[in-house]
Symmetry: C2
Amino acid sequence: MLGIGDDTALLRPKPGHETILTCDWFLEGTHFLRDKHPADAVGWKCLARAVSDVAAMGGTPRCFLLSLALPSSHTGPWLDEFLGGLRRASRKFACVLAGGDTTQRKEILINVTVVGEIRSGHAVLRSGARPGDIIFVSGRLGEAEMGLRILKQSKKIPVPGNPLTRKHLYPEPRIVLGQWLAKNRLASSMMDLSDGLSSDLHRLCAASATGARIEATRLPTVSFTSSLGRPRVHPTLLALHGGDDYELLFTVPSRKAERVPRYFEGLRLTAVGEITSKRGIRVLTESGDERALLAEGWDPFR
Amino acid sequence: MLGIGDDTALLRPKPGHETILTCDWFLEGTHFLRDKHPADAVGWKCLARAVSDVAAMGGTPRCFLLSLALPSSHTGPWLDEFLGGLRRASRKFACVLAGGDTTQRKEILINVTVVGEIRSGHAVLRSGARPGDIIFVSGRLGEAEMGLRILKQSKKIPVPGNPLTRKHLYPEPRIVLGQWLAKNRLASSMMDLSDGLSSDLHRLCAASATGARIEATRLPTVSFTSSLGRPRVHPTLLALHGGDDYELLFTVPSRKAERVPRYFEGLRLTAVGEITSKRGIRVLTESGDERALLAEGWDPFR
């Protein structure tokens, strides 16, 4: 409701709705590299990943606050390009800039708070999974991690259109899918895949006080291309542990599972396993044996 | 409404109220010094300064999100002490932790988003000052800056009870005063004094498309004590340019000015000048001449 000027933003909540709040660090060195990531992608991604948390609840993003710390060397063309990517993401996700805080700093530091909304009582939480529920994921897993590896090997800053790095640089939060699953009360639990399936499924199961069993052969993996180069990583390992995909991980009670389409607006939805009452996560490997799946996704404290 | 676990917080807005959103950096080296500022004060102040933006609108703080990046060396006693200060501030301001994001980092980085609320249409903005309005400030100005100087000169980390550094380390956002001014429709414009009167009054005037004239002899300055040491700075300069006081700067239409008490719950309220239609800010000095007041408060880009 206010323009830039006041230190605060004013928001008129929609009646009958709850407000969703989420914030995310996006830090040079930790989450992106100044010399490898185009400023345009930094702008897009810092908003996309925070919006993804709103999507993972079934909510609708409304506005965001941007906290930005920059070196004075980056207030010219870098900032313009950053704001360009941010603006495109803002339009695409219908999530408007409502305020923020800026300061000067040697390193590029970004923090984004996203405010969303959802009809009261409709939010899908991590904690709702029950034994017997079918575990689904959207899209293909490991694609962002593959893009990151390509990016690190490459000597040049990638062009925005490169399909191999697109998912890593310009992730698309699954807003419409999340809303559809929440509105139709299909998902018993949901979260986004930010740190990798093996880490995030552990979190969902911990919140739901359950375990899970997944089948490696059912994972929607990336198809490799010759340009990936070495070292070649197995697609299944990328799908299990690769982070940054921002796909949705959700569970559906088995009696409702047939209502989940194979494709939702062109996006593949795949059943990869089921929730178990026995704690721990087991994976049925391609060779037919069953093993414990450890959380080996991205962890800033490791 | 949710415990820690999901990546997001859910908030049920109060009917007939608007939501206030604000975020603030609090960065080692820029906003505090690891070796000079007690962890307890860092915890208190990172929340207090963000809450102050809600107070400056006349709002009521409800909850906050904490984004924290820490070196692994600071996850033990430092973090405990930090959380202790944060918890005290959270209770004092009735503003509960609703979520956040944590990561590892060489430097201590903090970003706080505060969510508040205010009855629809009651928010006091920066832009409402009109020529002839009387300019008020709460408390005494320059006290936090004086505390910072003492802190920098001191060899030890100060004890929490030291009255000379209390205002710098443990500022108190003027929540109740802000609410009272908004509810009684006394303030035509308002903001908090975070960067110093000379800088902040320029912002208020710019937002209101006015100028201002203040009288130096009326400024509520600090009373110096012998322990301050040298270099001795003139109290008027501290009051004009010292930052971090988190007092309220507000304007009141002259016909309502007599309804502003000299003390509000023990806090001094002082008329220091008036809003003018002529742009620019003039100060009537102690020697009786009138000069332009330049924005010489704190500016991270200078």
